[in-house]
C-alpha cells in the first residue's frame, strides 16, 4: 500500500487573527456550520476543515482559529508560520481591537516575510452599527495603506461571511497558481534569452 497522499482537492490554509472577543470563532462557526454562537468562550487554537466549491473547482479550506487574548501573543509566531492567508478581524464597536490590527499585521508580515500575503481586513459586528466606534472611513483608509481589501461582516446575520472566506481563498489559490507558473515559466524565457543572445 502506498502511503503517498492521494491527489485530493487543493488545501488552503486560512488563519483567523484579531483581539479577543471580536468574533473570530463566531465567523468561523457561522461559515462552517451556519450557526451563530452567542456564548463567549475564549479560544486557544482550534482548527477546522471544509470542502468548498470555488469557481467550479472543489478545494479544501483549513481554518485555524487562534486566541486573541494577549497572553497567547508569544505563541502566535508558531501558528502564523503555517498560514497561507489571513483574516484580520476587529470589532467595529471596539476601537482598541481596531488599533490592535496594526500589531497583528506587523507580526504576520514579520513571520511570513511577504508584503503581498493574502490578507483581508474584516470589520465584524456590523449588525451593531448603532454602537459603532470605528468610523468606516478610518477602516478604509487603513486597508488602503496596507493595500488589502476591507469588508464589514456580521457573524450574527451572516452578512459577508462567505464573501470574506471565498475572497481570501480565491486570492490564495490564484497566488499559488501564479507561483506554479512562475516556477515553470522563468527557465523558458531565460533559455530563450540565451538563445537570442
Amino acid at each position: 500500500m502506498s502511503k503517498k497522499p492521494t491527489a485530493g482537492p487543493a488545501l488552503h490554509k486560512v488563519i483567523m487573527v484579531g483581539s479577543g472577543g471580536v468574533g473570530k470563532s463566531a465567523l468561523t462557526l457561522q461559515f462552517m456550520y451556519d450557526e451563530f454562537v452567542e456564548d463567549y468562550e475564549p479560544t486557544k487554537a482550534d482548527s477546522y476543515r471544509k470542502k468548498v466549491v470555488l469557481d467550479g473547482e472543489e478545494v479544501q479550506i483549513d481554518i485555524l482559529d487562534t486566541a486573541g487574548q494577549e497572553d497567547y501573543a508569544a505563541i502566535r509566531d508558531n501558528y502564523f508560520r503555517s498560514g497561507e492567508g489571513f483574516l484580520c478581524v476587529f470589532s467595529i464597536t471596539d476601537d482598541e481591537s481596531f488599533q490592535a490590527t496594526q500589531e497583528f499585521r506587523e507580526q504576520i508580515l514579520r513571520v511570513k516575510n511577504d508584503e503581498s500575503i493574502p490578507f483581508l481586513l474584516v470589520g465584524n459586528k456590523c449588525d451593531l452599527n448603532d454602537k459603532r466606534k470605528v468610523p468606516l472611513s478610518e477602516c478604509q483608509l487603513r486597508a488602503q495603506q496596507w493595500a488589502v481589501p476591507y469588508v464589514e461582516t456580521s457573524a450574527k446575520t451572516r452578512e459577508n461571511v462567505d464573501k470574506v472566506f471565498y475572497d481570501l481563498i480565491r486570492d490564495i489559490s490564484s497566488r499559488k497558481k501564479q507561483r506554479q507558473t512562475d516556477v515553470k515559466q522563468p527557465p523558458k524565457p531565460n533559455s530563450h534569452c540565451c538563445q537570442l543572445l
Binding site: K3, R49, S82
Partner: protein
C-alpha cells in the same frame, strides 16, 4: 455643622461668620470643642465604614477561595475519573498497548507526586534516550497515534512523556518497548485543537520545528488533557509560583488623619511653658498606635494587634510616660482599641461553633490563645464552653438519629473539651472550676437524654444493663485526666434505674406465677435438642448433665429448666448493674423474690404428681442453682449478694430436715 458638607464651603468665611456670631472667648472655645467633637465622630464613622467594607471584602475573598478549593477538588476528582475511563478504553481499543500502559502505571503509581518516579520510568522504558531529566516537573504521559497529515491514516503508535521543558516522543514497538524518536521544547511548539477534520476524531495538531504533525488520542478526554498539559508546559515558567497575592492593604492607613497627632500639634504652641523638646519624645509608632491597632484588627492580624497594645502599655508604664504630653489621650484610645479587639475576638470565638467538635475546637484555638494572653480568662472560658456545649449536643442528636453509640461519643467529646480547656487555662484555677460546673451541666443533659431515649419504661433489664455498662466504662476513664464524674452520673441515673428494676421485678414475678407446670420430667424430643440445652446451660455456668436421662429426657420439669436459664441470665445483668453500690439492694431483692417465687411453686392439689419429683426440683434449685448464681453475681459485680446467701442458708436448713438422705445424692460434691 451641615455647612461642612457643602460644596462651596470656605474656611475663611466660616471662621468669620463664627467670630461674628459668638460673644466672647468662652463661646468661641465652646464652638471649637463642638467642631473638634464633630471631627472626631466623622473620622470614626469613616473608619468604621472602611472597616466594614474591608471585612465584607475579606469575607467574600474567603468565600471565593473556599469555592476555588472546592472547584480544584472537583476537577481533581474529574481528572482521576477521566484517567480511569481512559485506561479502561485504552485496554479495550488497543490491546497491544494495554500491557504497556499497565506496566508504566504500576511502575509509576505515585507519578503525579514524585517526578523522580516518572524520570526513572522514562529511563527504564525508553530505549535510546540519554537526556537528563533531573529537576524537571512531570506533567503528563500517554499513548497517541500519529496520523498522516494528508490522508489522516495512522502512521505509528507513539508514547509521549511531557515534562515542564521537554516533550519526549517515543515510538511504541511491536514488542511493547518504547523507542526514543525525538524531543521538543514545549515552548517552541504550537498545539492546535482539531475540531473538524473529515471525521477524524480527537485529533490534535502539533506544529513542531520539523513540521506539523497530527496526533490522535483514543478518547476526547485524553485530547483535552493533552491540550491543557501542553499549554501548561508552554506557560510553565510564567506560573511557576502560582501563589495568591496577599490581601490588598486596606485603604484606611492615612496617617495624617491620626487623631492623636492632630491635637498634639495644636496644643503644643498653646502651652509655651513647656519646653519644646518634650514634643519630640513621642515616638512615631506610639502616636499612631491606636490607628495601627484598628487596621491590624480589620486585617485580622489579631496577634500583631495584641502585641502592639502590650507594647504601648509597657511603654506607658515606664517613666517614659512623663515625657509624653498626650499620654492620657493615647492611653485612653489604646484602651478603647483593646476593648474592641476583645469584643472582636469573643465574637470570633462564639462563631467558631461547628457540628464537628474537633473543628470547633481548632477554630477556637487562635482567638482563645490571644484572649488568654490578654488576661480575659473568664470571658474566654465561658464563651468556649458555650460553643462546646452546642457542638456536643448537636453531635449527640445526630448520633442518636444514626443509631450510633452516644455514650462513647459523649465521653470522648467531654474528654476532648476538658483536655483542650485544661491546656488553654492551665494557670487559672478559677476557670477549671467553670469547667467542672460545665461538665456537670452537660452530664445532666446527657443523662436526661439517656433516660428519655434509652431507659424508657418497659425496657428489659438486659438492655438497661448494656446501656448502663456502656456509660460507666468511658466515664471511669475520665478519671485519667483528673475528672471523676461517675458518682455524679450514678446519682443522676439512680431513680430511673431503680424504678426500672422495680418494674422488671413485678413483670418477672408475674410471669413466674403464670407458668403452667405439669410436674413431669422434661422431654426434649431429640438428642440434638438435649445436647444443645446442656451446652447452653454449660455456657451460663451450670452443669446439668447429671440430670439427663435416656436419650432425650431431663430429670427436671420444663419450667425448672427454663427458670435456671433465665435466672442465670438475669443474675448476669443484675451483676452488671450492681457494680454501683446504690442499686445493690433493689437488685438483690429482685433476685431473691424471683427465686422464692419459683421455689414456692406447688402442684395443684387435684393433680397426681410424684411428691419426690417436686421435691427434687426444689432441692436442685437450692443446692445447685443458688450457689452458682451467688458466685456469678460476686464475680461480675465484685460485691457479695448477701440477700441470696441468707436465702441459701435458710432454705438448705429447711429442706435438710425432711429429706436428709436424698440431699447427699444430689449435692454437687458427689460428682
Amino acid at each position: 455643622m451641615k455647612e461642612f458638607d457643602d460644596f462651596n464651603f470656605s474656611v475663611e468665611k466660616y471662621t468669620k461668620d463664627l467670630t461674628r456670631e459668638c460673644v466672647g472667648g468662652s463661646d468661641l472655645q465652646q464652638r471649637k470643642k463642638e467642631i473638634e467633637a464633630y471631627n472626631e465622630t466623622t473620622a470614626a464613622t469613616l473608619k468604621q465604614t472602611c472597616k466594614k467594607n474591608y471585612m465584607e471584602f475579606i469575607q467574600t475573598a474567603k468565600e471565593i477561595s473556599h469555592l476555588e478549593s472546592e472547584m480544584y477538588q472537583l476537577s481533581h476528582i474529574l481528572i482521576e475519573q477521566r484517567n480511569i475511563l481512559a485506561t479502561m478504553t485504552d485496554g479495550k481499543t488497543s490491546s497491544r498497548l494495554k500491557a504497556e500502559s499497565l506496566e508504566v502505571e504500576s511502575s509509576t503509581v505515585a507519578e503525579d507526586v514524585e517526578n523522580s518516579h516518572a524520570t526513572r520510568a522514562v529511563k527504564e522504558m525508553v530505549q535510546g534516550f540519554n537526556g537528563n531529566l533531573e529537576g524537571k516537573t512531570f506533567l503528563n504521559e500517554g499513548a497517541l497515534i500519529e496520523l498522516d497529515a494528508n490522508d489522516y491514516r495512522p502512521i505509528q503508535r507513539v508514547f509521549f512523556f511531557l515534562f515542564n521543558d521537554v516533550l519526549i516522543v517515543c515510538k511504541v514497538k511491536h514488542d511493547k518497548r518504547l523507542d526514543f524518536l525525538t524531543e521538543y521544547d514545549p515552548k517552541k511548539i504550537a498545539v492546535i485543537n482539531i475540531k473538524d477534520l473529515d471525521g477524524v476524531k480527537n485529533a490534535i495538531n502539533i506544529i513542531t520545528p520539523d513540521g506539523s504533525k497530527i496526533y490522535q488520542s483514543i478518547t476526547a478526554a485524553g485530547k483535552t488533557e493533552w491540550i491543557e498539559k501542553l499549554e501548561e508546559a508552554f506557560r510553565f515558567d510564567q506560573q511557576k509560583k502560582p501563589k495568591k497575592g496577599q490581601a490588598p492593604q486596606p485603604p484606611t492607613r492615612v496617617k495624617q488623619q491620626s487623631k492623636a497627632s492632630t491635637p498634639e500639634k495644636e496644643t503644643t504652641p498653646q502651652s509655651p511653658g513647656e519646653p519644646k523638646s518634650l514634643e519630640d519624645q513621642t515616638p512615631e509608632w506610639l502616636s499612631t498606635a491606636s490607628e495601627e491597632i484598628q487596621t491590624l484588627v480589620a486585617q485580622r492580624h489579631f496577634e500583631d494587634a495584641q502585641e502592639l497594645i502590650k507594647r504601648t502599655q509597657d511603654f506607658m508604664r515606664n517613666e517614659n510616660r512623663k515625657k509624653i504630653p498626650l499620654a492620657d489621650v493615647i492611653e485612653n484610645k489604646v484602651k478603647q482599641q483593646e476593648l474592641k479587639l476583645i469584643n472582636v475576638l469573643l465574637k470570633e470565638l462564639s462563631n467558631s461553633h461547628n457540628r464537628n467538635l474537633q473543628i470547633a475546637l481548632r477554630a477556637a484555638k487562635r482567638p482563645l490563645k490571644i484572649l488568654v494572653e490578654m488576661g480575659r480568662y473568664r470571658q474566654a472560658s465561658a464563651t468556649l464552653l458555650k460553643v462546646c456545649a452546642v457542638s456536643l449536643r448537636v453531635a449527640q442528636r445526630e448520633a442518636r438519629r444514626n443509631n450510633a453509640d452516644i455514650s462513647e461519643l459523649f465521653f470522648c467529646d467531654l474528654t476532648q473539651v476538658a483536655c483542650d480547656f485544661l491546656t488553654a487555662f492551665e494557670q487559672q484555677p478559677a476557670c477549671v472550676s467553670a469547667l467542672v460546673v460545665w461538665c456537670n451541666a452537660e452530664l445532666q443533659y446527657f443523662a436526661s437524654q439517656l433516660i428519655k431515649h434509652y431507659l424508657t419504661k418497659g425496657t428489659s433489664l438486659e438492655t438497661v444493663a448494656k446501656c448502663v455498662e456502656r456509660v460507666r466504662k468511658p466515664s471511669t476513664k475520665l478519671t485519667e485526666i483528673g475528672l471523676d464524674i461517675s458518682y455524679h452520673l450514678e446519682g443522676l441515673l439512680r431513680t430511673t434505674l431503680e424504678s426500672l428494676i422495680e418494674e422488671s421485678k413485678e413483670r418477672l414475678l408475674d410471669s413466674v406465677g403464670r407458668t403452667e407446670e405439669s410436674w413431669q420430667p422434661y422431654n426434649l424430643q431429640t438428642k440434638s435438642n438435649l445436647k444443645r440445652l446442656l451446652l447452653e446451660l454449660d455456657v451460663l455456668g451450670i452443669d446439668v448433665r447429671a440430670q439427663a436421662t435416656g436419650d432425650t429426657w431431663m430429670n427436671l420439669t420444663q419450667s425448672t429448666v427454663v427458670f435456671i436459664r433465665h435466672f442465670l441470665q438475669l443474675t448476669e445483668h443484675c451483676g452488671c448493674l450492681a457494680k454501683c453500690e446504690t442499686l445493690l439492694q433493689s437488685l438483690e431483692l429482685l433476685l431473691k423474690e424471683l427465686f422464692v417465687a419459683q421455689h414456692s411453686l406447688k402442684p395443684p392439689s387435684d393433680m397426681a404428681v410424684d411428691p419426690n419429683f417436686v421435691m427434687k426440683n426444689k432441692i436442685f434449685l437450692v443446692d445447685n442453682l443458688l450457689p452458682i448464681a451467688i458466685e456469678k453475681f460476686r464475680q461480675i459485680s465484685g460485691r457479695q449478694c448477701e440477700g441470696l446467701r441468707e436465702l441459701h442458708t435458710k432454705m438448705s436448713r429447711q429442706q435438710g430436715a425432711p429429706l436428709p438422705r436424698q440431699r447427699s445424692v444430689y449435692t454437687t460434691d458427689v460428682f
